[in-house]
Symmetry: C2
């Protein structure tokens, strides 16, 4: 006898998470959200007291966070917010992005047909938010919330391409890149000068996808990231 089907529309899968996962989400939001000084101690007991939970789930959440590179651990000494990224590491991060995202673009070109419309939709959001940012910048009322929104839609474009590869390993690695990039933007505080450039470069990437040539898509992506790198350098120098 088949069980009755309930007309729930889209069946929303209820995520059954334990305390550990909720603590993880909270601490992660705190790290990528408000800027917290690198090197700050993350006391297990203190966090537990703050969140009104026992230290046990907090410990497990921090173990999980350690793998993302956002926090570092010294045995018997505790956890700290990962130190500020050095110039050398920043270059390494861009090198890695060029390798990873260039390759992802090449692979995603296989499914360009279904990918391009989604990229266009995201680009439209990106364009809209960019206008709001530029407007606010002229008026001198550039809020942190708006900046965060801008970073999010910007990254959404890159993330879509990773998902377009349909490759679980690459998608997994994109998460690692994502946290590092977001954290970098917090501290370096760049990304305002390139408000317009990013949109036009993303447009070129979509154009490359439309040709269906994987190498063209990869080249457009590499070119974009190289330009982000050079803009980032001049920002740092202007500091």
């Amino acid at each position: 006898m088949p069980e009755p089907t309930y007309p729930l529309g889209k069946t929303v899968v209820i995520e059954r998470k334990g305390l550990r996962d909720r603590v993880y989400d909270l601490v992660l939001d705190m790290l990528v959200g408000q800027a917290v000084a690198p090197g700050t101690r993350l006391s297990i007991d203190a966090i537990a007291r703050d969140l009104k939970v026992s230290p046990t789930p907090v410990r497990e959440a921090l173990v999980q966070l350690e793998r993302t590179g956002l926090v570092t651990r010294e045995p018997l000494k505790g956890y700290r917010v990962a130190p500020q990224i050095t110039d050398g590491q920043l270059e390494s991060l861009f090198d890695t992005r060029i390798v990873l995202e260039g390759g992802a673009a090449s692979l995603a070109a296989r499914h360009a047909d279904s990918l391009v419309p989604r990229l266009e939709a995201t680009l439209e959001e990106h364009r809209a938010v960019t206008e709001k940012v530029q407007e606010a910048a002229r008026a001198g009322t550039l809020s942190v919330a708006l900046l965060r929104e801008y970073f999010t839609v910007d990254w959404n474009f890159h993330h879509l391409i990773f998902e377009g590869t349909d490759n679980p390993f690459l998608i997994d690695m994109s998460e690692v890149i994502s946290t590092r990039v977001h954290r970098m933007r917090q501290t370096v505080l760049s990304g305002v000068t390139d408000a317009g450039d990013a949109v036009t470069e993303h447009t070129r990437i979509i154009d490359a996808f439309r040709t269906g040539d994987p190498e063209a898509a990869a080249a457009a992506m590499r070119d974009h990231i190289e330009k982000v790198r050079s803009r980032s350098r001049s920002d740092a120098h202007a500091h």
Copy 2:
């Protein structure tokens, strides 16, 4: 007053690890060592009883292992050995390797001078072990230990190139690849047919590094991995 320097020769850094890290190492060795059936339950309490420790450090070790993809977790249900890799995932894994290792070879070519000698040394080991494997295969006395030794020296070559990039992010990602590749070889049990081919292909990679051309190194690496992929396919088909 400078503190006295102790003539300890090479100062061995004593790793201060807690119980958690030792449990992690033990379980990891068990997973990549002896073949354990995918889907096997990893009971926290059972492992704790086996190792004569409390469940707490075991839980944290498993949280850490979850990030490597070797084990999966279902909240409130427990941990399991990650399921057998599917054919589609295997293709994705090779795609990722081509992207990642091709890019790594390109970047490592910057330091080709210091890298080539180390690659040659590892290749020599690889060649020696290969002969032992072929000999044993002819005699019909191919032990698991010898096979594991072969896989190790084979991977050492690839790992050296990652280290040659001097890029912490790429090196980190190579670890993820490493565990997956080792686990795949356990189950697929390939790698015997290509005993000779791998050495010659590695030789060609070194030759490419000698030219100093990053693109040549990347191409040689991509070519090698593509060949490993096709050999893997025919092995699976022969099964």
